[in-house]
């Protein structure tokens, strides 16, 4: 279990934090040292192991807590908002560690997050929870299919709108002040053809649906007045191996 808030003991060193955890979770005596060193290695904290957690940055504490969560070889690891409040570099690294855990340690990881790109990048299955109920549970790909449409927005001098409309995979075409927006399924596969029919374009923008679109579509756009509730009730997503 890894909490949203930093929960390592700042008065102890990184190593001692893991040692206390190993004791509390009944890691056999012969294995303690080995497992602690492995866990520290996994999150690249070996050379800071003798420093007090107080001196660690937010990202390092997170990593230390990830390592700690693994010491007793859990079958399922719960990560509550693992990258909340971290800068983009640190977030990328944490994502890297989480993927490493899932593939190398063969551990099932349950993540709660507000970051849709995080769920998209890491998770095999995503559940969207609204007002405490799971309203969708599927792979990111399948969830995105529910929103369905890709969008191509292009600036074209003399657009061939009728030609585009005739294409079987195009569902809707809008034109406004020389800007053409085409809704279609799987833009990636058809973009060449669309552009050939469309005419001479000066700019093209392609947008695939993201989990963010899925989330907004499923939960609506109004802001939630959330009461403080247990973390499980928030959006959650699952990596399954």
């Amino acid at each position: 279990m890894v909490f949203q808030e930093p929960s390592s003991d700042e008065l102890l060193t990184g190593y001692e934090n893991l040692y206390v955890h190993a004791l509390m979770y009944g890691v056999p005596k012969e294995e303690r040292r080995k497992r602690i060193e492995e866990a520290l290695e996994l999150v690249d904290l070996k050379d800071r192991a003798r420093d007090r957690a107080k001196t660690y940055s937010g990202g390092m504490r997170r990593r230390l807590e990830l390592a700690r969560g693994l010491l007793h070889r859990p079958k399922i690891l719960l990560l509550d908002e693992p990258t909340l409040g971290l800068d983009p570099q640190t977030r990328e690294r944490i994502w890297g560690y989480i993927e490493r855990l899932a593939s190398e340690e063969k551990v099932t990881i349950l993540i709660t997050t507000h970051y849709m790109e995080e769920a998209e990048a890491l998770c095999d299955r995503v559940a969207i929870i609204d007002y405490g109920k799971i309203i969708a549970l599927d792979s990111p790909g399948n969830l995105k299919m529910r929103v369905g449409k890709s969008m191509i927005t292009a600036r074209v001098r003399e657009p061939n709108l009728d030609g585009i409309r005739a294409l079987p995979y195009v569902s809707k075409v809008e034109e406004k002040e020389g800007k053409v927006t085409i809704y279609l399924s799987e833009a990636g596969a058809h973009i060449q053809e669309v552009l050939r029919y469309l005419g001479e374009a000066t700019s093209v923008e392609l947008r695939e649906p993201t989990l963010n679109d899925v989330f907004l579509k499923l939960t609506g756009r109004e802001i939630r007045e959330e009461s403080p509730e247990s973390w499980v009730q928030r959006y959650s997503s699952v990596i399954n191996r």
Binding site: F3, E5, S7, D9, L11, E16, L23, M24, G26, R68
Partner: protein, 248 residues
């Protein structure tokens, strides 16, 4: 077995932290030393009880004071653990709450014992002499008092969520326990209301037991001192365990 290792884990943490915070150790024995010296030599210049030097008379009282302050505050400081969220990790560990309590309690007792030990070492420099018997009795009472006081602190700390209550605990728990215990004065000629207060104060028996061993002047029989202290410790450990088990 795993619960015992759990107790060790909690104890290990407390002792590591204590030994690392050197400023706390220094403060913890300088403070009582000032008391002993200022009161012992200052007040002692014109006051003496039962034919003893005043400094000898208050020495066990000041040790008791040191034990109350450090032990109760040790317990209260778990509010800090809760605040920095470190305690969450401890709470979700696969251990009984009683185990957490015992580990933390023993950690606090160790801290208090180390601090009292420093005072016991300094004692002879101030002309205080003890026999082996006196030393053994002192250590037993120090350990019991520490266990009781740490438990009070933990029981209160388990219910608290902020530091605002610290002053209240100081005013309504620590200071009355100390001042109404006979640590600074003999119980013989007290007005009846004050005497009753000291009679229901468990610390009076701790101080009396230690003073009896050190100076041979007992107000209560030593067996009574010991039994009441023990009963107090058992009751406080029970209260602390209960608070930990109810803590959310």
């Amino acid at each position: 077995m795993s619960e015992l290792v759990g107790v060790y884990a909690l104890w290990y943490r407390e002792v590591k932290v204590f030994l690392r915070e050197r400023s706390r150790i220094v403060a913890s024995f300088v403070n009582p030393l000032i008391w002993i010296i200022a009161f012992g030599f200052g007040l002692g210049a014109s006051v003496s009880f039962a034919g003893t030097r005043y400094i000898d008379f208050i020495f066990p009282g000041i040790i008791a004071m040191n034990v109350i302050f450090t032990s109760v505050f040790f317990g209260l400081y778990m509010v800090w653990d809760k605040r920095v969220d470190f305690f969450k990790e401890v709470m979700v560990a696969p251990l009984r709450r009683t185990t957490l309590f015992v580990g933390k309690m023993l950690g606090g007792c160790t801290d208090s014992l180390i601090q009292a030990g420093i005072l016991l070492i300094v004692g002879p420099l101030l002309g205080i002499k003890y026999t082996a018997y006196a030393l053994a009795v002192l250590l037993i009472f120090i350990l019991l008092a520490a266990a009781g006081m740490v438990s009070i602190g933990l029981a209160i700390g388990a219910h608290m969520t902020s530091f605002e209550g610290f002053g209240l605990v100081q005013s309504f728990v620590i200071l009355p326990l100390f001042f109404l215990s006979g640590a600074l004065y003999p119980l013989d000629n007290l007005p009846i209301w004050l005497k009753s207060a000291t009679y229901i104060n468990p610390l009076s028996y701790v101080v009396d037991g230690m003073r009896g061993a050190l100076l041979g002047i007992n107000y209560f029989p030593i067996a009574l001192d010991f039994s009441i202290t023990l009963a107090f410790v058992v009751a406080m450990i029970a209260a602390g365990t209960l608070s930990f088990n109810k803590m959310t």
